[in-house]
Symmetry: C2
Subunit: 452 residues, 2 copies
């Protein structure tokens, strides 16, 4: 599996003449002492003239770098920085609440970091995301297909100088967004996606079903909305007054829910509310920037998940932090967790076709869904997986971490292709952020071809 | 409304000659300093010869005892002690984890105690529950109707000496179990029930629907079980092999779920597992006593809700505690949170008829459901409420505590009768144990006839 990519890399080695940068980081502001793992950051130029400079973080596996898999992590969005992975999800850090203040966030180690068992690249892609930038204005324009090409180019170029130190590599692509799913077709190994946006119409429509199942809308309203809108909740016919009225009621029930994890408090209540139900943006929790600007010294109650995001904003925009990370001065005015002003065109409507093609290959897929996420609910993910029409090898059963049910897994196969779908019980949109222990156990077992 | 009960009380005053006990408690072991509220405990004899001695805890409202409502709290089960209310749910205490040890549980104040706004009686009923006892063996036998009569007798007798200090009383009956719901018919004021068992067949059957909605069983298995068992999951036809096989799979998915709050860890895993899905007992979490006996100094990881129950077991069986509470020496060998060996006959199959009769009265009902409870799931409660065929005054809308959605409320009416049904978002079986702030806000608004 792996060799096909390696060959590609060697061929490219001959024609590549771009100048790249890479730095090894020993210490970071906010973290006491030396980093207990190998952190490398750098830029790799992609595009004809290297006009797009993609920033990455590479952390070597803390177990056995030569034998452990290599994972390329794309946070998704599109536009969400790889630093999100490092600070909240599967990376080696979390914020140390006890010792942090609004102006001085402190870092501590995440005991459930995936870097315990894997070599991880966190990439700021597409261009404009995180610390990635372009050298021309035109190059800031990107779309689903061009960004996929650039990410692929990044990976090939990154592998050249690193290949000698990492032998046994299993690149797993982790993404939240639909466009990068098209990247899979270029790989012959395996991939992992979590609460992935795959087909906006379906994923969005299924929010109504999810809201009903989770007691956010009533049986009566659900039945009425289904009947009146005939299942079409995204972009409904504006002349269908009964449907429009039902959707208004649905919105009334869901407006103040924190869609990324329906049981958590919703901080967006502090800011003017967007219409969350039908917006497919994943950036909504970044309203905290408004909070920060209006009340810099005061954290409003109750605790909200987006305070984490606020800390990341403060930390990543600190000049000493950027210097420590070897971010090129003057390339970015503002680091945003999720860049809302990307010049980005969505030209891939759905990645279901890609998934369908992948089922013909010798490939392992892991799809996980935090079952309390209303942004991309598990019911929508189930729906497109069903359309792949795979055989069921192992039907919906609980799996365990420390004697507790962590979620429910179904394994599908089709000749040499296998797809593991699992829920993560109680988790939200970015499942490892909510259930780190369970998600580390999941990925460890999956990497090891072990029974989930 | 209230007067009809008062008259009854005065008549009885003339014929009552029982000797009752009551003590005012100033301090309690495990609580530092004097109690900042008035706590009275005592026994009231009921039955022809006062052969049943019912133990109670009375806490005066910390706001305005003369104007605040009087609430009689029955924990349910049947067989669960009123002390559960005091220590975990709506009472003035919680355990102080930071300063407790396995042998020495410490108490701290619950800022969301309902005693902040109401006079509360917590009753150990039926006979055998908590510190209640009988003076003859025969008197330990009870059933749904006899225990209701005894509870009613308790209340009349208790009111006589207390009436002068409490003027404006709105007795609200709070129960978890089905039998006590028949008590309502004797009252003309209002009542509150939380995740109530009302009709075992329905409440039990709805667990399958609930498990499906909350992603614990798959769409496929749910559809198959529904079809094969024809909706009959409690006591299915043993010759219906397809149904039996489906239910076996359902159980496999649910066996290790903590049914009282599906997202919390399940401590029963430490003990031999009962078949939880179809048992309607609410005592399952008391397996902790086995843990206590097998490993007295060691609290197994992860944290489980039943450690609270373990602390209550240690605390309430401490001789100094029982002395402080003025428990009569030698009347009980063991305090149990929920007495599993009651000599009790369930002779009321369903209380739906009682509810139907109550809709003819000038009465206010509040029914709340923690929406993450699988023991008595909200879908079952909704089902029997629907059969009452009431008019909808206010249809399923969110209500808020501190700007966050606390649950969804529907208000039904029928002439002078009104029934408020609300979910408590994220709460388990004993909702105030999980969402104390939200439940205090709920009851405060409801007592005050305020918009939920």
């Amino acid at each position: 599996m792996w060799l096909s990519v390696v060959v590609l890399v060697h061929v490219l080695l001959l024609i590549s003449n771009s100048v790249e940068s890479q730095s090894i980081i020993d210490t970071l502001p906010g973290f006491p002492g030396k980093l207990p793992f190998k952190l490398e950051t750098g830029y790799i130029g992609v595009g004809e003239l290297d006009e797009v400079q993609l920033f990455y973080y590479f952390i070597e596996s803390e177990r056995n770098p030569k034998d452990d898999p290599l994972v390329l992590w794309l946070t998704g969005g599109p536009g969400c920085s790889g630093l999100s992975g490092l600070l909240f999800e599967i990376g080696p850090f979390t914020f140390d609440y006890a010792n942090s203040s609004g102006n001085k966030p402190m870092l501590e180690l995440n005991p459930y970091s995936w870097t315990k068992i894997a070599n991880m690249i966190f990439l700021d892609a597409p261009v404009g995301t995180g610390f990635s930038y372009a050298t021309t204005w035109e190059a800031y324009n990107s779309n689903d297909t061009s960004s996929t090409t650039q990410t692929y180019e990044f990976l090939r170029k990154w592998l050249i100088p690193h290949f000698s130190s990492i032998h046994s590599m299993l690149p797993a692509i982790l993404i939240l967004g639909k466009p990068s799913q098209s990247l899979f077709k270029k790989f012959q190994t395996g991939f992992v996606i979590g609460n992935p946006l795959t087909y906006e119409i379906w994923d969005g429509n299924e929010r109504v079903k999810f809201a009903h199942r989770t007691a956010l809308i009533s049986d009566r309203l659900y039945q009425s909305t289904k009947r009146n809108c005939q299942g079409r909740y995204i972009d409904p016919d504006p002349n269908n007054m009964q449907c429009v009225e039902d959707l208004r009621k649905v919105n009334e029930c869901l407006d103040d829910i924190y869609a990324a994890q329906i049981l958590e408090p919703n901080c967006a209540a502090f800011s003017p509310k967007p219409n969350k139900l039908w917006s497919l943006s994943l950036h909504l929790d970044d309203n905290f920037i408004d909070i920060l600007h209006s009340a810099p010294d005061q954290v409003p109650e109750p605790w909200c998940r987006s305070y984490n995001y606020l800390y990341s904003y403060v930390w990543a925009n600190d000049k000493t932090v950027q210097k420590a990370l070897h971010v090129r001065e003057g390339t970015k005015t503002d680091w945003e967790r999720c860049n809302k002003s990307l010049t980005y065109t969505k030209n891939v409507i759905t990645s279901i076709d890609y998934h369908q093609n992948l089922t013909k290959k010798d490939l392992r897929a892991l799809v996980y869904s935090g079952d309390h996420d209303m942004l991309i609910p598990y019911v929508g993910t189930q729906q497109w997986i069903e359309t792949l029409d795979l055989s069921i090898k192992d039907d919906w059963r609980p799996w365990f971490v420390e004697g507790q049910i962590a979620g429910y897994v179904t394994i599908f196969t089709e000749e040499k292709y296998s797809l593991t779908f699992t829920t993560i019980k109680g988790a939200g949109h970015t499942a490892p952020e909510y259930k780190p222990k369970e998600c580390l156990a999941m990925i460890d077992r999956w990497f090891a071809y072990y029974f989930l």
